[in-house]
């Protein structure tokens, strides 16, 4: 591996970590929205 491969590896790792975290936030947010809809369906606000 030469210098440029290490550079790409670092950039890809950065975006994999940040992207993975953003996806996890979106999934948690959607799960909460589903739970909120279920509660509203039962008459709770």
């Amino acid at each position: 591996m030469n210098s440029i491969h290490f550079m790409w590896a670092a950039y890809i790792a950065t975006w994999a970590i940040l992207g993975g975290y953003l996806v996890s936030i979106v999934r948690r947010y959607r799960r909460l929205q589903r739970e909120q809809k279920d509660l509203q369906g039962k008459g709770f606000e």
Binding site: M1, N2, S3, I4, F6, M7, A9, A10, Y11, A13, T14, I17, L18, Y21, L22, I25, R28, Y29, L32, E35, Q36, L39, K42, G43, F44, E45
Partner: protein, 249 residues
């Protein structure tokens, strides 16, 4: 509020795209290290952002201990989680840079070790938040956060206090940086700081939403599906005793 957030998210994405273009294309190639030096444009801004987020966690923890504000506690946990993510980027990109430059992935150098300890402290903070159900958890976590934050200045000043292999700071540390590199570095610093603030804000909204929903679920459990208070067999029985306990008088 939602529209403002969307506009800021788009702005953040554009700023990051511009900063990445600057780092990969516009910044000159370093003479001795070559292209691997460009990792610096991601590594240092992520370290700065993580440090800022841990400082937010410290301030929010102090605010929680002072005023017992639930919002302050929510901000503390959001800042800690986002800070751990940025600190993880630092701990991954650092060894990727070190392998071709130093010839090793890791060394127990003071800067590297204190950064790893910092990451471990905040991971333990998040584990405590996730797996402890005690009412005292936010208070314990706030105290842990205050002790954890003591490591932040130690990480920063470790390269002054100890003999270390880690490069000296480029700003305020006697190191020199080409003005074109400095410009690209500052653009990336701004972009990652903005991204950190955006993610922390989003995570904070999620935490507040989660707490509101937990309260609603607790209310549902208390009132039952018909919206009336749940009456146990014990309280229905005469004299407030359970049927089995009300034997012949």
């Amino acid at each position: 509020m939602k529209k403002a957030f969307s506009i800021l998210a788009v702005f953040s994405a554009l700023l990051l795209a511009y900063a990445t273009y600057q780092a990969l294309v516009v910044a000159p190639t370093e003479r001795t290290m070559g292209d691997v030096q460009r990792i610096f444009y991601y590594h240092v801004p992520c370290a700065w952002t993580a440090g800022c987020l841990f400082c937010v966690n410290l301030l929010a923890s102090i605010a929680y201990l002072t005023w017992k504000s639930s919002k302050a506690d929510a901000l503390a946990v959001s800042a800690a989680e986002t800070g751990v993510v940025f600190c993880s980027v630092v701990l991954v990109t650092g060894p990727i840079w070190a392998r071709p430059v130093w010839g090793i992935w890791w060394t127990w150098d003071m800067r590297l070790t204190t950064t790893l300890v910092l990451w471990l402290i905040y991971v333990s903070y998040l584990v405590l938040r996730k797996f402890s159900d005690s009412a005292q958890t936010p208070k314990l976590a706030a105290v842990l956060a205050i002790f954890g934050a003591l490591d932040v200045p130690l990480v920063y000043f470790s390269i002054w206090f100890f003999r270390t292999q880690h490069p000296q700071p480029v700003i305020g540390g006697g190191g020199s940086l080409d003005p074109r590199m400095l410009r690209v570095f500052l653009i990336n610093l701004l972009a990652f700081s903005f991204l950190g603030a955006m993610i922390c804000w989003w995570r904070f909204r999620l935490e507040v939403f989660q707490r509101e929903l937990d309260e609603a679920l607790a209310l549902e459990a208390l009132l039952g599906p018909d919206g009336l208070p749940q009456v146990s067999a014990r309280s229905r029985s005469p004299l407030g005793k359970s049927p089995s306990a009300t034997g012949p008088a």
